[in-house]
């Protein structure tokens, strides 16, 4: 048995692994019963499993849990403060950033990561590029893009200074 210690959504967790093959995604879903992170493709192509590890968004399906011993993980379950939703969650509701909802936890965690990275600013094209690792098979991209843009704008007001857009026709 291999002891594994993680901080998950602010709580210290210890798991005894009998097998090193367990991915972070399977650990979260099957051992810790945090089923918000979804298993879409399980191959890093769809982004439904996106979580933050030490503050950075990654694909939980392509990380061996054992390799992340000691890390701090944030999942969709860790975003809200009680009944008060995270601003990105609120933005997804306000802008209808989903249809069936299966990709939504990954979309939201990816958006939280994107905003923290501070690279996209309020340029819709850069937001779309930054969210390209998250597929939505319902095709709710328009709402998703609007939601991320709104959350970005509401979050910190970083706006015109980082924009690439020019007025020239």
């Amino acid at each position: 048995m291999i002891p594994l210690r993680l901080t998950v959504n602010g709580t210290a967790r210890e798991v005894l692994l009998e097998d090193p093959r367990v991915t972070l995604l399977d650990l979260l879903r099957e051992r810790l019963h945090l089923t918000g992170s979804k298993k879409g493709c399980d191959r890093g192509q769809c982004g439904a499993c996106t979580v933050l590890v030490d503050g950075r968004r990654i694909n939980a399906c392509l990380a061996l849990a054992i390799s992340l011993d000691g890390a701090s993980v944030t999942t969709i379950e860790g975003l809200a403060d009680g009944d008060r939703l995270h601003p990105v969650q609120e933005a997804f509701i306000a802008h209808d950033g989903f249809q069936c909802g299966f990709c939504t936890p990954g979309q939201i965690m990816s958006a939280v990561g994107l905003i923290a990275e501070g690279q996209a600013g309020t340029d819709p094209e850069r937001i779309r590029e930054g969210m390209s690792g998250n597929l939505c098979r319902c095709g709710a991209y328009a709402g998703i893009g609007d939601a991320v843009l709104a959350a970005q704008t509401a979050g910190d007001g970083q706006a015109a200074g980082v924009m690439m857009r020019e007025d020239a026709a």
Binding site: T23, S67, E166
Partner: protein, 365 residues
Amino acid sequence: MNLFDYTRPASVAEAIAAAQAPGAAYLGAGTNLLDLMKGGVVTPARLVDVTRLPGLDRLDVLDDGGVRVGALVRNSDLAHDPHFAKAYPAVAEALLSGASAQLRNAATAAGNLMQRTRCPYFADATSPCNKRTPGSGCAALGGATRLHAVLGWSEHCIATHPSDFCVPLAALDAVVEIEGAAGRREVALESFHRLPGDAPEREADLAPGELITAVRLPPEAAGFAAHSRYLKVRDRTSYAFAVVSAAAGLRLDGDRIAEARLALGGVALKPWRAREAESLLAGQAPDGTMFRKAADAALAGATPSGEANAFKIELARRILVRALTLAAAGTPERLPALPASPFAATFAAPSPSSAAAAPAGAAHG
């Protein structure tokens, strides 16, 4: 996924010792390795986790002005490092045109070099593949070959190397630092990856148990910073491997090219340095006619490896011309430009004849 023995050594020496076991593989982020293991494409008996090795996550400016990128530096950290991006903009642009943000946050520099081909027949464990199972044949030959090689391929393997990062590295004379049981050595990135020949299973100049510890860029590589681009065309705007890509760097002396650097991606089983084309450009004016001559020279030896990929030869010529044209116009202030987006102003090339005069990035939106 097969069962494996997992070990997390505390030093490079311990890692190398642990990797001497038969069937051992180094584990970095695992973004490619775990994917292949899930598909049964590779079945390592032991994973040697190198992610905690001390010092390998460092990015250092060297005394000679060059930069050493530790093997564990994550793709996104490297691309967004202000000094690195300013000195080697084409490398930053290539990194950020690869994969998705989630994968770039995890994937390491050395892992990028060691990633495997995305040939679908290699990835399908039930298909014959000389790379996966030497001597079994090549299912890609006569198959769906739209994305396969047009340079340097053999009848044993027509796969391509999928890396974006390695393309400007090859153009800029990057060096791979390697440590093994027999000591340290280094090899030019340009000769690190091997063409398939009759042994496509031998992919890199790396002996079993050897570990990449760093990738180094020489000080001269920063001399192209003012006129450098990485241009990637793919089947969708983002998050796809290159159909064809090109890294171009120019060092201008007045209205002449003092030195040019060129490499292609997506066309061969290694990043393809175009040295003949570089020689043709030296001393010439940066104009469309010369760029086309250089592109013709770069693709002179190209042949389709299947009917479906013949188009890549002319596409590669045009991508080279465009990359050179964009490089001549100047490295955009903000990198990466959105590399392959048809909506992005920085993608639209000025006409080759007015390359030196046209500003990049005008007329967006």
